[in-house]
Amino acid sequence: MRIERLSKRFGDFTAVSEVDLHVRRGEFLTLLGPSGSGKTTLLMMIAGFVEPTSGDLRLDGRSIRSLLPEKREFGMVFQGYALFPHMTVRRNVAYPLEIRKRPRHAVRERVDEMLALVQLEDFADRLPHQLSGGQQQRVALARALSFGPRVLLLDEPLGALDKKLRGEMQVQLKHLHRRIGTTFVYVTHDQEEALSMSDRVAIMNHGAKVQVGSPEALYERPATTFAAGFLGRSNFLRGIVTGRRGGCATYAVAGREYRQEDPERRLQPGAGVTLALRPEKLEVAPARPDGVDGAGSVGAGNAGPNRLAGVVGDVTYLGSTLSVSVTTDGAGTLIAEVRPRDGPGVAEPGHNVCLEWMPDAAVIVDDMQSPA
């Protein structure tokens, strides 16, 4: 399925602007963005409930833009599930099959199969309000899949569930996707869901597509400050490029020079640069007696880490890691995530420390501080 320059405007407000997206057959694609980023509107346009202002939607090369929702053969799991409250679980799941006038025994067989798939065989004769949130969610899933849709659309299906159940459902959904092989288009604002389930994630902000890629690619190589900040946590360093040294560019922040790996030579001397630096890529080392600060110490060559001195502010215990905030001189407050056993003695509030990171640890990103 191809989404081509699809836009939706409500009066003066542009909900979705010129989004291009290629949904591959059988993949699990997540539209990830904060509320108001246009991800749900985009999904509603795919489902046919919202008419695009401009652009096109193609499925296997044929435009489906003007096709009614009931003709699209897309299953959908709605936010809040939208089960038919007056029908039992069995009749909810049978509904799309009865609409398609499948023979009665085939309907029964298929419904049983679907209920087994979502492990709700024992609840077939209950009404939706007699089920828990997680069970309702599974009914919605079974109903949307029972007629063998070409694409399954999911609109924040786990939004109403508690954290533990959400985790279990994530695993089940991913399992289900692998078993049935249907294309899933999943909308969420939860980055953890997006990372854990998707083959690819499309990050959206202000109605526009920011970046598309596999979860790993997006996490390791975010293209913009928004992508870096929305998917996981990130520190940002803003400086001026000063020159090159081997495969690295050098840049200055507050008068000190650092090195950044840049084999593609994206950084030109004199230009501004923004770097995203994941907290777990920062090491917290004891403050150095000689006060060395900046790009590698003398004699360390190209292999040495960048160093930046600072004072520890808060230390937050997160179980498997410690989150340490370090106020630096000139580069603002940076967050480092370290293993708890590395913390004692060094990462204590008020201590002078030295932050270290390798020249390949940071990622050059487009600054989205002031979106156009």
Binding site: F49, L68, G75, F78, A82, Y95, F147
Partner: protein
Amino acid sequence: MRLAGIHHGAGGACWLLVAPLLGLVIALYAWPVAEILWLGFSDPEPGLQNYEKLFTRTALAKILWTTLRICTITTLLSVTIGYLIAYTMVHLGARERSWMLTLVLISFWVSVLVRAFAWLTLLGRNGPVNAALAAGGLIDEPVAFVRNELGVLIGMTHYMIPYAVLPLLANMQGIDRRIMDASHNLGAGAATTFTRIYLPLTTPGVVAASLLVFVISLGFYVTPALLGGGRVLMVAEYVSVQVLVTVQWGVASMLATLLLAGVFGLMYVLSRFMRLGDVFGARA
């Protein structure tokens, strides 16, 4: 146990608190009504002779039949029209909806007497409707819209439409529109979605509206009297004649008892199928 005891005690105190009000209701309402109803068995002499008249006097049976017929048709018409109005309102923008609601409520507040006279003027032999139809060449003779059963039906339906709209509107506003989206998404067209999803979901509203309209229609007095031109006699008017003109309290009381029993009977039948609290929008 202690807690339960305290709770029970508090319940008793609550009853004490509402006791004066309860006493007032019994003294000023329940008791007089019971007295009136008793007249049906005791006036002019004790016995069931008033009820016997139902079978011996054909006029009475005819009045009851007219009442039932008119109320049923009124209910059908006003609930159907009310359904269309409520459906339109739910699917309009918030501003248009509040305008429509205002219009519905204005007609709700206009006195029944004023409305009956308005219809008489509009639909009379020389009224604007007949004049327009004649001018348009559609009719040669004025159509008798009023002073007959048709007039009564027009007037009553008009009066009852707001009563149908309000419960239906409340019901329809409570329906998540995504449920209809889901039906479309699953492959159902507009007609199937309406008959299989929307109609069942609005059934409680339809039942509530029908019941409300039917029960209120049973007691109609002014509209049939004016728009029926004396030719359409319904129970309420007949009761009034029995009390004020012929002074047959027994017969009047018998008919009132029948109406009351009919209403309670309807409620009972209904309660077998659905919780009345749901129908009338009460929340526990």
